[in-house]
Symmetry: D2
């Protein structure tokens, strides 16, 4: 019996072409695994296609809820944003995929895992760090980095290679954007985006949303409820987090919310330019951030912002299965204990307009904030506060005055 390799399989041209390549270059049985993280592609006929291409077996795993609950929600709780803008859509999904690949590798007693990520991107890092952390003994095969044996450089090459290996499937040779999609977002790279001086061709590009210009002229209200930093209801109806995201995607997409155009720094050292659509995620993150405004005290908020940046970096770099991610998440979770309440927004042509936030744990106190003196606040206290808050700078100023007098 041959040893087995697990192939992260999407059914697309890239990963299909890998099947014959693996068989040509290694003496493995190829077990295809398609992980459904909400990418919304056609799964019908996938098994037939995999087998036709030479695979021994196909697993299709729907992990949407696990993805949302264990990977997306912690990022929401952290308000994790990479380099000011990127809501980590692709980054979040890679570790759950790596985990499933390893689980099936163990089930199949496979000796290797193969993925179709390129040698220039972040995803190779994320897949491989996940695999190394969970199954350090497994061999990892990355065809796109195999300069000696992987000779295909274009879709045409791949189609040609497939044909030569008896796989005659209907793939179009048309090159579009390079995309990655899951329940949380879709990313677009390539074509005109490769020049940051050029405005994206949104009409051509958008998949989950319309541009603000195309959005309805009427805004729409939406309310979300959170408990311990986890979204639990939408417009008054309880539903699981993945359904909330799904419905927010529709709402956000309709109103042109969450389209960003960014030049980001990849882990492997170069800058790349992409457009991301995260319609529901953008609303959800904004709602969560806003609820925290009411609940977290200043010092906690300040440190949490730093931790959010660290969490974003960790997730972006594919270091999910590490002690540091666990520790930062423990910090974040501790802060979420009282992040409970309701947020209301008006969505309008790309804008998320606050329309009221409430929480039983709100630290906002109208009587404190207003101008009157009350039981809780003696205006006179401010004098003592300022005197001590500014003591060191006053001492310094006096010292400097004294020195300049003496000189």
């Amino acid at each position: 019996m041959k040893e087995k390799v697990i192939l992260a399989y999407s059914g697309g041209l890239d990963t299909t072409a890998i099947i014959p390549w693996l068989k040509e270059n290694y003496d493995y049985d190829v077990v295809c695994v398609c992980i459904n993280v909400g990418q919304g592609n056609e799964l019908d006929g996938l098994e037939e296609r995999a087998k036709l291409s030479g695979a021994t077996k196909l697993y299709v795993e729907n992990v949407v809820d696990e993805f949302v609950d264990d990977y997306v929600i912690p990022c929401v709780q952290a308000n994790a944003v990479y380099e000011n803008k990127y809501l980590l859509g692709t980054s979040m999904a890679r570790p759950v995929i790596a985990k499933k690949l390893v689980e099936i590798a163990r089930l199949e007693s496979a000796v290797a895992i193969c993925h179709g990520a390129t040698g220039k991107g972040n995803d190779q890092v994320r897949f491989e760090l996940g695999i190394k952390a969970l199954a350090p003994d497994l061999k990892i095969i990355a065809p796109w980095r195999c300069n000696d044996t992987w000779k295909m450089q274009s879709r045409e090459d791949e189609i040609q290679y497939c044909k030569e290996h008896g796989i005659d499937l209907p793939f179009s040779a048309d090159n579009s954007y390079s995309r990655d999609r899951n329940l949380w977002h879709i990313s677009h790279e390539g074509l005109e985006l490769e020049d940051p001086a050029i405005e994206p061709n949104y009409d051509h590009l958008l998949v989950l949303s319309v541009s603000p210009q195309e959005a309805p002229n009427e805004g729409e209200y939406v309310t979300m409820t959170f408990e311990n930093g986890i979204p639990i209801s939408l417009n008054g109806e309880k539903m699981k987090a993945s359904t909330i995201i799904e419905k927010l995607n529709e709402l956000g997409g309709k109103h042109g919310i969450g389209i960003i155009d960014i030049v980001e720094n990849r882990v492997v050292g170069m800058k790349s330019r992409g457009v991301y659509e995260t319609p529901g995620g953008t609303i959800l993150m904004e709602a969560h951030t806003q609820l925290e405004e009411l609940i977290l005290d200043r010092a906690t908020l300040t440190v949490k912002k730093e931790m959010a940046n660290k969490f974003a970096d960790i997730v972006y770099e594919g270091k999910w299965f590490t002690p540091l991610r666990e520790a930062v998440q423990a910090f974040i979770e501790s802060t979420q204990q009282y992040v409970t309440g309701e947020v209301k927004f008006k969505l309008y042509k790309g804008n998320i307009i606050k329309a009221g936030t409430t929480s039983p744990y709100s630290l906002y106190s109208e009587s404190l904030a207003s101008f009157t003196t009350g039981e809780l606040y003696d205006h006179h206290d401010a004098e003592g506060f300022i005197n001590l808050f500014g003591l060191s700078l006053k001492v310094r100023a006096m010292k400097m005055a004294e020195l300049s007098k003496n000189n």
Copy 2:
């Protein structure tokens, strides 16, 4: 001859009522100082009003350019944002005002400075820290904290008090929002904003801008050029930074840009809710951030984000005249050496849509970012990179596997 007190004077009811109060409670001559930081209020007749109210003298100082060049621009270069949203409009202006008050106090050989900030806000802290740092010997008088002598709690009280002291000026008793305005922004507090559950009444509230709903149906392009992180031209025309902000205020205001609704944590410990309009500033900060995307490397960007948060906290807390602000600013300035280039935006109903960024110092390389292997990047290098980048987590995984095998 009497000793003198310098009064930070706006011509409004609050600071006018302070004049007779100062004369009643202290044996000082009152020298009024009105610092113009672009608040756009009526300065005609101010001198007459001050004198009518009992002041000895009035200084009116236009410091708009100094305000912009020495206080606003460093915040733009830092991308300083307080608690995720607030562009520090009021905070930035306080130190330049404190500095001018001190300068005039020295000119007049005054012994005290008086300001009209309340005992619950941030501004008392900012004014007084500025004064302490620049003139530790000067006495500071804050009438609103003088529980024993300052008995006025409302506009009606103030008008009444003025009348009793022979000042019969036409102040309306109407209470509106509590506002602070300068070239960079206008803030609104009070009225319905005191309940964070309530959506702001934008029709009533907005001063510098219209809401996205009221903005034109056609977007409008704008280009800005920066040199060393400083804006130097707008739509192709060179102009000084204050003029750029002024013009961006018009553009941004017209397109509903830069309106935020926030619950923030004050220095003195309570949460408060405000709406801020920063139409031009929002565009300028976004342009600067975006230009940096092309130019700064990943590590610099990461640390700069942390420093931006610190800078924002320092400015918010009124600690402008401190060694820490100077040191953080030195860091920021060092990063701005190559932040030179052009940014193009489309403004549309509250949205700032990127329309292309260019810089001679761009680290973005199309050949590096695209999928092909070139001279600069060998795909195979990624394997070595990932192996070492993930070495410690692999070692850890192996150690854990070994331990669980032994147990």
Copy 3:
């Protein structure tokens, strides 16, 4: 029946004098509470003394183990050090004392808590923040800040005041250092220490230890075992953490370990100079730090160092009972999961000399660290690593070279 005030009572002159002062200025029954955190003072006769001085009741609470387990150990796990040097001895103890005072206040249905900390120190802040967080309704009385009624400025004044109020106890008028002691440390302030230019008079000053010069000429080995970051045995013998500290105090004290001389920044804004003896704590912290060297990966260690600084600041500022302290502690605890192993030291005249560290979870691998190539490490990988690790700086250098060529 009178309302009650809880007085934090040590039996010393300062807190004894407060009893008649409280009775003179407030209409309260005074309930004294002496919290034993290992300060090692004489508790015999304390009840008699309290009652003689006018107290209604005395509680003596031994909380040494709670102090160690819930307050000291988290600081050890964090490696919390304030401003490079201070092991937080006094800071750690204040929250547990505040907690006990509040517990007894509730038991006694008291309406106020009184403490004898001065108006210039950190301890007032720590006590009061603890009380505010745990019992925001209780009144706090700090006699030393009551300028109008507390007229005693010296020990002589206090003795005189006691006598006038019928308390004739044998207090010496001798002023020595101002000290605070508990199981973890003793602090010294005052006398010659008030001038940082002067070397401390260690012969006069030291209580828990001898100076390195006076320590034995022979070193002594000590081993400690930790489990999850908690010390569990000393020299091979299992014992509870408080006993380990006690025994390490003897050992460290004997060998002149853990004496520091520091100028620190107080919360209330001024610098103060103190000498601290932390003989056992210094050894324990060092052992913990060292064990972590073997176990924590680089990224975790880096972030943990930042969190340690934050934890130290939080504890120093008396913000123990806050969400931020809880969240930071959650981070720390997560990192301690595998901090298990043994540390051996030689103690010699002020030096803690490492003599070997072992852990089942050590990430150190001799084969990896040595020069040979093994299965786990291909030297060639380093090339790929360096190429990508340095990619952005190379791209930048090329860009700059190109630009300077063109100019």
Copy 4:
């Protein structure tokens, strides 16, 4: 005429063996460069040796003062310490060496630079990042990573290889510790140090210092003066920084100061164990830290500690010639403006005992620190300060109390 390669040459066996290897594997003339950073080795006869081994030319460059002034001093000003203990001795020297290699490469119009660092260490990273940043066009050759052509794995192999290529120089086959030395420190790796469970054999190992046990029984005072964070005199005598370090090395070495034993995390991902002697550097860093205690305010100190950690990481990782290092250094330099004053220590058997610190810019104020109330400090102010400092936690406690009452 052949193209040229620059070889970083020490005269030792390792780099000597590279000469014939380069000539065998590349068609280059070999130009040797020996950079003197104070490593104290024998430079006599070096030229003869290089030429005998096949080199075309030898440069010997004394850069000790440049090393100290431009690389060491910024680290002292930063108080840069890697992973709690390591004073960065080797890390500091690598960029200045890389810079000199590049300068000579330009002078000689060489096309490549070769170094003898192994494929497992940090130094390859540091050399190569330096070269990439300064001369991105130059080829880098690292023989120890050339698995295919570099077959020598031991000193015996190297001696044999040299002999085979006609180089008969007197190298001993004796393997000792692997060491790196410069003016600032000497590092030791290998032999018994490869097992962290084993106590170092200090009698065998130490080069610059004696162990505390062997140090004199009498302590010795030393004073240092700093100006703007730069050491300018020792024991009252003005001298340049490199001389101060040299003399402190003697003093520190004599008194057993600055020996550390550490398990550190290398950039390339594994842990390694080393012993470092930094006798003078340890004293100098301690003196600088201590002077800052008197001069820097609390907020500056806090941020500077974070920046010190970042600076240490940057230097350790070999990222000297980067915008981030420049920016962090700009921060540090800004803080050093007033770090001027004198520090006195007693050195005794491994201990650096503070014996007084003074500075014209000291923020320490005896009247402020002592218990009395003075002009500058009203004890009563502390009440207002604490009330606001603790306001948010009190508000939170009240909110929680209210909620639990209602439930």
